[in-house]
């Protein structure tokens, strides 16, 4: 028997994309990542599973019982389903250890001593033993999220639901939480993870669901989804994750906006400081050297910058192309400093496309 069996689950919203007849089976021990653009029902699906949302139709079998039926004892169901929220939601009036002890005492009928021991075990698991007596406000975001994970684990749930567990965290804290989740995967805990963190999805999932427009658009192993997506939207989504693209016609000619967007991309790829600097310096020199003079003249030229990153800090290529013009911007000479910079930061690659030059950015 599967742990969770979702059949034709639908839920409508007034101002949002509805869930359309979702079918999903989760086996014990599976680690499933749910990825996809914002607002496509990923979180809603997750919240239906522990009935924080009430579906309009369909069924969810959990432990062999349909938990969408009226009269289901939701508190009993929820005790077996752990949930970790984007905003941690530790109880602000209780210390960390109390946060973990309280539900065990109140809901599992454990004595104070039992609850305390369990809490210490779980805190050790997420590396927060030392913070047991602190109040939630005294912890960093990453620590709060780890404590929230420990609180859910202490209930010994049959499945853990993670609703964007790293989205509210500073980039520096994402990794600590990710590593904790990684360990849980190693321990064989069944997990459903809604995430924007592709590294996490890629590394630990046994299965990745790509959701778009309220349905599970494509699913498969991480390799299938990230390296060989079959369907168009999945491909576009994955491409967007690995590639940065700026088209002056679509995205505008605001240079500062462009460099901010590039920086965000570099961060999301976990590039180190040096790589990030190299990328932006190179793009800046090319933009101001070749295209800005044309834009100033009122030329109709449009340019497109694409950065493609393979793996983390592995190989980064930049291609720059132009269109809508008779003159070739690349014939204009860069000034001495600019060309010196380019030389030191890049290797020129041979371009297969017309009107395009390609560089490999040095690591």
């Amino acid at each position: 028997m599967s742990l969770v069996e979702i059949r034709e689950l639908s839920k409508k919203y007034e101002n949002a994309v509805p869930l359309k007849k979702i079918d999903l089976t989760v086996e014990t021990g599976e680690v499933i990542s749910i990825i996809g653009p914002s607002g496509t029902g990923k979180s809603t699906l997750l919240r239906c599973i522990n009935r924080l949302e009430t579906p309009d139709s369909g069924s969810i079998m959990f432990d062999g019982k349909d938990i969408c039926l009226k009269g289901t004892d939701l508190t009993a169901v929820r005790k077996k389903i752990g949930m970790v929220f984007q905003s941690f939601n530790l109880f602000g009036h209780k210390s960390i250890i109390e946060n973990i002890m309280m539900p065990q005492q109140d809901l599992l009928g454990k004595t104070k001593e039992e609850a305390y021991e369990e809490a210490i075990v779980q805190l050790r698991r997420v590396g927060l033993e030392a913070k047991a007596d602190n109040m939630p406000d005294e912890l960093s975001g990453g620590q709060k999220q780890r404590a929230a994970i420990a609180r859910a684990l202490a209930m010994h749930p049959e499945i853990m639901l993670f609703d964007e567990p790293t989205s509210a965290l500073d980039p520096t804290m994402v990794t600590e939480v990710m590593n904790v989740i990684r360990h849980l995967a190693d321990d064989g805990i069944t997990m459903l993870i809604v995430t924007h963190e592709m590294r996490l999805a890629k590394d630990i999932s046994t299965r990745v669901l790509y959701m778009d427009q309220g349905e599970i658009y494509e699913q498969g192993t991480p390799v299938e989804i990230f390296e060989n997506p079959k369907k168009e939207l999945t491909r576009a989504f994955v491409l967007k994750i690995t590639n940065w693209c700026w088209d002056t016609e679509e995205d505008g000619r605001d240079f500062y906006e462009m460099s901010a967007s590039l920086e965000e991309f570099c961060r999301s790829r976990f590039m180190n400081r040096k790589m990030m600097n190299n990328c932006s310096i190179v793009v800046e020199e090319l933009y101001s050297g070749y295209f800005q003079p044309l834009f100033k003249k009122g030329d109709k030229t449009e340019a497109e910058f694409i950065i493609e990153a393979q793996g983390e800090n592995e190989k980064i290529t930049l291609s720059v192309s132009y269109r809508n013009t008779d003159s070739d911007p690349f014939v204009s000479e860069l000034d001495e400093i600019s060309s010196a910079i380019l030389k030191s930061k890049t290797n020129l690659l041979e371009s297969k496309k017309k009107n395009t030059i390609m560089y490999e950015i040095k690591l």
Partner: protein, 506 residues
């Protein structure tokens, strides 16, 4: 830090208190050597300020005699007018001869203006429903009519020792009769410092009752309430220097007793002679606190104020909390009732709510005014407590609630174990200040015949004709108690904090 500020504030208040006592006493001390009025013809009153009780319809009458009155001013009690007259805020005030003679006898700096403005007659008012009026009239004619002038000079005179009412030592075979008596209209009907009702009209009523063999219960209340009490059936008879007018005769039946007149009271022309500062201070203190054991009245007033505010504070809190629980059910009818109730209370002045309860809602029942005040302030405080708790609960992040549900808490458990404890740091200080406010708001309970701290001060003021000591005492009492309440509630809050803090450290 905070205590320091409070200490400084209270010492500041005490200094102000002493300073004012010096000023007020030096200003009002005078001796009674000559009783010639400052003004003795109507012409002399031209260009002067003339005062009367709020609502008294005599402007036209006065203007016909004194064409050039500078200004008419209105006061709610006679004692206030005496204070205004002696301190120079006004130059004459209008009263009936009973009050006038008493005040002039008592206060050497006052004198009666020689010409009365208008003749009138006092009456004791009986409910129109009372079928036995003729019996009472007969009793009056038999026992009262003959001794009327004797009683008049007894009650308007200076000899306080004679002003006693007969004991009700008769059997009372015909039952009990309730008399709504004004508590501040000396000499006809008033309350002494010991909280005892006295007055000439009360004596008349007792004499008639003895003749007819009724027991009498006096219900002290403000003048504005006595006619309403008879009309509404809360009392059978009312008295309090009622002048017989055609308008009043439509509502009640009168037994006429003493003739009176409206007369102006002016300052005496005698040169004021300053008594020693210390003597007048101690005399004033003596009159405010020692005479008739008036301090007891203040103390019992304070007790009443505390009782009303504590009881209605607690029951209002409970009611308000129940409302928040009902609101959580989110039923349309309940929500509707709650918002109508809150809107009504929010839209009505406290005094109006109290009077509605006392004179309309509980008009026929015999519950005491203090209880009505408690009920009134309970229903006034409940929506405030409700609003405070609701907004505190709403300010707790929704995620807390979801997290509790996701762990397996029921909605009820989540509310009590997760949401309410976290709302506490918001609602607690707000409730504390609301409670301090409630304590001060109870000062209007005097409107429904409750002798609370404020009313006790008023009554003493009415008897001593001095504003300073009674008002300052009342002010300082309110200030200190408010401070004490805040302090005690803070302590309670700290105990809570310690408890939950201890639990945190296993």
């Amino acid at each position: 830090m905070r205590n320091n500020i409070l200490l400084r504030l209270s010492s500041f208040l005490v200094i102000v208190f002493l300073l004012f006592s010096v000023i007020s006493i030096t200003a009002s001390a005078a001796s009674a050597t000559d009783r010639t009025p400052e003004e003795s013809t109507f012409e002399e009153l031209n260009g002067k300020t003339i005062s009367m009780l709020t609502g008294a319809p005599f402007e036209e009458l006065i203007s016909s005699k004194i064409p050039d009155v500078k200004e008419f001013t209105y006061y709610s009690t006679s004692s206030d007018m005496v204070l205004a007259l002696t301190s120079g805020k006004t130059d004459a005030f209008l009263q009936n001869t009973a009050v006038g003679e008493l005040f002039v006898n008592r206060n050497p700096s006052l004198a009666l203006f020689p010409d009365p403005l208008k003749e009138a007659e006092f009456g004791i008012a009986f409910s129109k429903k009372n079928k036995d009026l003729s019996k009472w009239q007969a009793a009056y004619d038999k026992v009262c009519a003959g001794v009327l002038d004797e009683l008049w000079s007894k009650w308007t005179g200076l000899d306080e020792s004679k002003k006693n009412l007969p004991q009700q030592d008769w059997e009372g075979k015909n039952g009990n009769i309730r008399v709504a008596a004004c508590d501040s209209l000396e000499p006809m009907s008033y309350m002494t410092g010991e909280g005892e009702m006295k007055g000439m009209e009360l004596e008349l009523i007792l004499m008639m009752a003895k003749e007819l063999d009724y027991k009498v219960t006096f219900i002290p209340m403000e003048f504005s309430g006595i006619l309403a009490a008879v009309e509404g059936g809360k009392a059978d008879i009312c008295c309090g220097s009622l002048i017989i007018t055609p308008e009043r005769s439509e509502v009640v039946n009168f037994i006429h007793h003493h003739k009176t007149a409206f007369i102006l009271i002016v300052r005496s022309a005698a040169a004021p002679e300053n008594a020693g500062l210390f003597e007048s201070l101690s005399e004033s203190f003596r009159r405010t606190f020692i005479v008739e054991d008036r301090w007891k009245m203040l103390l019992s007033g304070l007790g009443t104020t505390m009782l009303i505010s504590v009881v209605s504070g607690i029951s209002g809190l409970i009611l308000g909390f129940l409302m928040t629980l009902l609101k959580r059910k989110n039923k349309r009818i309940i929500n509707g009732i709650i918002s109508v109730y809150t809107a009504i209370i929010a839209g009505l002045p406290v005094v109006v709510i109290l009077m509605l309860l006392y004179y309309v809602v509980f008009a026929v029942s015999d519950i005491s005014a203090v209880l009505v005040a408690m009920i009134g302030f309970t229903i006034i405080f409940a929506p405030k407590a409700y609003g405070v708790i609701m907004s505190a609960v709403n300010s707790v992040d929704k995620g807390q609630y979801e997290a509790a549900l996701a762990l397996g808490y029921s909605e009820r458990q989540a509310y009590f174990k997760v949401i309410l404890p976290q709302a506490r740091k918001i609602y607690f200080p707000l409730l504390r200040s609301q409670f301090a406010l409630l304590f001060k708001e109870t000062s209007v309970a005097g409107y429904i015949a409750v002798v609370d701290l404020t009313r006790a001060g008023d009554l003493i003021r009415g008897r001593t004709l001095e504003a300073f000591f009674p008002l300052m005492t009342v002010a300082i009492a309110y200030f200190l108690i408010t401070w004490l309440i805040t302090f005690v509630i803070d302590r309670i809050g700290l105990t809570f904090d310690k408890k939950s803090g201890k639990a945190a450290k296993k």
